[in-house]
């Protein structure tokens, strides 16, 4: 546990260093509006990065995060905008969908013994395809007339605290992160997750039903991804199913790896994943603010992740 905390600390230092450099070169980095926007991005990306971490800790991987976000996003908007379904029911439906997708992935991995990479790669292709077919490749969005003030306030709203407009996505991330922290680092289930990820055979010999644990991890991942899908849909307000959420699984994996998760399983912390997400978003911001051509976006991010992982 101590080693993990040390890892988190060095990540924090890295974030502060990068932040300071950006702020020195372009003071606009520190503008309230910019920080608030970046925080909003952290909130949105943090939720599905935590989702990814649950799976990675069991030694698996979930590649369909972005496609699920697109599919569930269009379904959600379609339900409340075109079918006039109550938004609470729609939220419940979408989250149930996420849980179901997770359960299918988990069962395919643990019962059918198909490699997680393969299962979720197929998921990535299938859900993207279904999302595009569902809207006939058209953009799904809110019309001018439709308005859901409560839902909008809850998901995409901001509350002024000490003159800082705190995005509600950050509040959601805080709640999700706190619960996930307790589950992963304090609960019996969390201990089992790490045990299965570290050495499934030894876990089994200790009486842990490793199959169930693996399925639960994918289910949790699916549910949190669905939550993220709603938040993101409400933030973007319109979804082009061909591109919405694409590469998000890679952001999630990157955040988890930066945060100390090992792709071999059994390692990583919630604090680390959140810090990893923050670092990625600060980098994104850096590209924007320093006038680096946005085509170099991924190159910058890849380089920093590599440095971060090497520094470990």
């Amino acid at each position: 546990m101590n080693a993990l905390q040390k890892k988190d600390l060095s990540l924090l230092v890295l974030i502060i260093v990068v932040g300071t450099v950006v702020a020195l070169i372009n003071p606009r980095f520190l503008l309230v509006g910019n920080i608030s926007n970046t925080a909003n991005q952290v909130g949105l990306f943090g939720v599905f990065s935590i989702a990814e971490a649950f799976v990675i800790i069991t030694g698996g991987i979930e590649l369909s995060v972005g496609s699920v976000i697109a599919l569930l996003g269009v379904v959600f908007i379609d339900l409340i905008v075109n079918h006039g379904i109550n938004w609470i029911a729609a939220c419940a439906f979408v989250i149930a969908g996420g849980l179901a997708i997770g359960a299918v992935h988990g069962l395919l991995v643990s019962r059918m013994h198909i490699q997680p990479f393969v299962v979720t790669l197929c998921g990535l292709l299938i859900y993207r395809g279904v999302a595009r077919y569902y809207t006939e490749d058209a953009t799904a969005g809110f019309g001018f007339s439709s308005s859901f003030p409560t839902l909008e306030w809850m998901t995409a709203g901001r509350t002024n605290i000490l003159n800082f407009p705190l995005p509600h996505s950050v509040v959601v991330l805080f709640v999700v992160g706190a619960v996930a922290w307790v589950v992963l680092h304090r609960s019996v289930f969390g201990r089992y997750l790490y045990a299965v990820g570290k050495n499934e055979e030894a876990a089994r010999y200790s009486g842990i039903r490793s199959g169930r644990i693996v399925v639960s991890a994918y289910v949790i991942c699916g549910g949190l991804t669905a939550l993220a899908a709603i938040l993101i849909a409400m933030y973007t307000r319109s979804i082009s199913p061909a591109v919405h959420g694409s590469f998000y699984e890679l952001y999630a994996i990157a955040a988890a790896v930066l945060g100390g998760c090992s792709l071999r399983g059994g390692e990583g912390s919630i604090m680390g994943v959140v810090l990893g997400t923050i670092l990625l978003q600060v980098l994104q911001n850096l590209v924007n603010l320093l006038g680096i051509p946005s085509s170099l976006n991924f190159a910058v991010m890849g380089t920093v992740i590599l440095i971060g992982v090497l520094a470990d």
Binding site: V182, R186, S187, V188, F189, R191, Y192, Y194, A195, K198, N199, E201, A202, A203, R204, Y205, S206, G207, I208, R209, G266
Partner: protein, 500 residues
Amino acid sequence: MSERFLELIDISKIYPGVTALDRVSFSVSRGEVIGLVGENGAGKSTLMRVLGGVTEPSGGTIRIDGVARASLTVAEAIKAGIAFVHQELNLFDNLDVAGNIFIGREPLHAGPLKLIDRKRLRAQVRPLLERLAVDFEADRLVAELSLAQRQLVEIMKALSLDARLVIMDEPTSSLTLTETDRLLQVIDGLKAQGVSVIFITHRLNEVKRCADRAVVLRDGRVVGALAREAIAPATLIRLMIGRDLKSLYIPPASPPGDRVLDIVEVRTATYPDRAVSLSVRRGEILGLAGLVGSGRTELARAVFGIDPLRGGSIRLEGEPIRIAEPSAAIERGIYLVPEDRKRSGLLLDFSIAENISLPDLASYARGMLVQTAAEVQNARRQRERLNIRTPDVMTAVGTLSGGNQQKVVLAKWLSMRPRLLIFDEPTRGIDVGAKQDIYQLLRRLADAGVAILMISSDMEEVIGVSDRIAVMHEGAISGFLERNQFSEHNVLELAVGHTV
């Protein structure tokens, strides 16, 4: 004997909180067989790791062929002709036997592609297989081998190096008498060729049989060296633990009670057409002997729900039960202490406390949350009870010495309330003194009404601890022995399939 080609002078190794080696001096002459003994955590493996270039000493000098240096790298050690059989096995599960033995040194086809020459590879492996007369082929996947068989692969790997010094760290810990005999013959052969051998073991008879010199370590210091004539188990024990040991067998407090476990015509995947029947009674310690590969571990795994049964049935206290998962066995009070601690017994990166609490984690939890204080408290209790050598129960199990890791595996299961305890090589790598404590503990458990099935390849242990012995041969029971029939001869006869 005269030519001392290797000398360690005042070697120390300090880990945080532990002095593993304290100014140890040690030398090896050509063609000399050295038995290295000492309690768990005495520093034997650490000393050998220094010699093999795996661990960097904190101080001291290593002199090879007159050249002094402060430390070695693995490559330098190999170049100096040192081959190493590690205590914890390091094989590639996904490669076959030949591939493991010659990893990195595979014979290649001529040509730019450098393809592996399978024919030559097999030809080079064959003499090694014959030398140890192993019962498996060169193209078997290591993943399919038993622990003892994997141990033999490690030994062959070291022998294939044509070294001038072979270090074997507890090579016999999972071997039965037959394989051990063969290994000791191989050691004699090496010696005759002028190769030196350092041999670590907790089976002191082996030292007496093959060593020219015995070196005893205690708390990281050399506390004695005995010449060939002076080597005797009792003397070694006194040097190792500073006291004498009394005989092993402790009779039960009362005669055995009802049958707890009935194994009826059970067949396993390894021997699908051989059926095994046996019963274990309350308060009884039933020893299960046999050669490596006789199907003992497979039987235990089937009872514990790791492998599915191929046939037959299992009854617990007369009631037929179906166990599809270890968790189901554990719920019923059937526990298995597996033989391979690194693979199935422990999570090496987890702390001692976390390992011990794992099979019973719910009882350390309030609500859904694990109470670390309760875990630590119990781990401390187990540390006293089993004398696990560590300053802190929150240290990772992987940093403990082999024998102390084994004690943690035992502690996992002894913290709970068993009805039937199956031990697969319970004292693998545990020193003589601690073994004695564990045997007392087993007897106390049995007297408290637990039924114990103890698989063991250690002849002294089977004969010294069991109330009754079942012997297996090629997947079937070849006979039972009552205490008055116990003898090494009888066990061996049954183990090779004869009758007594």
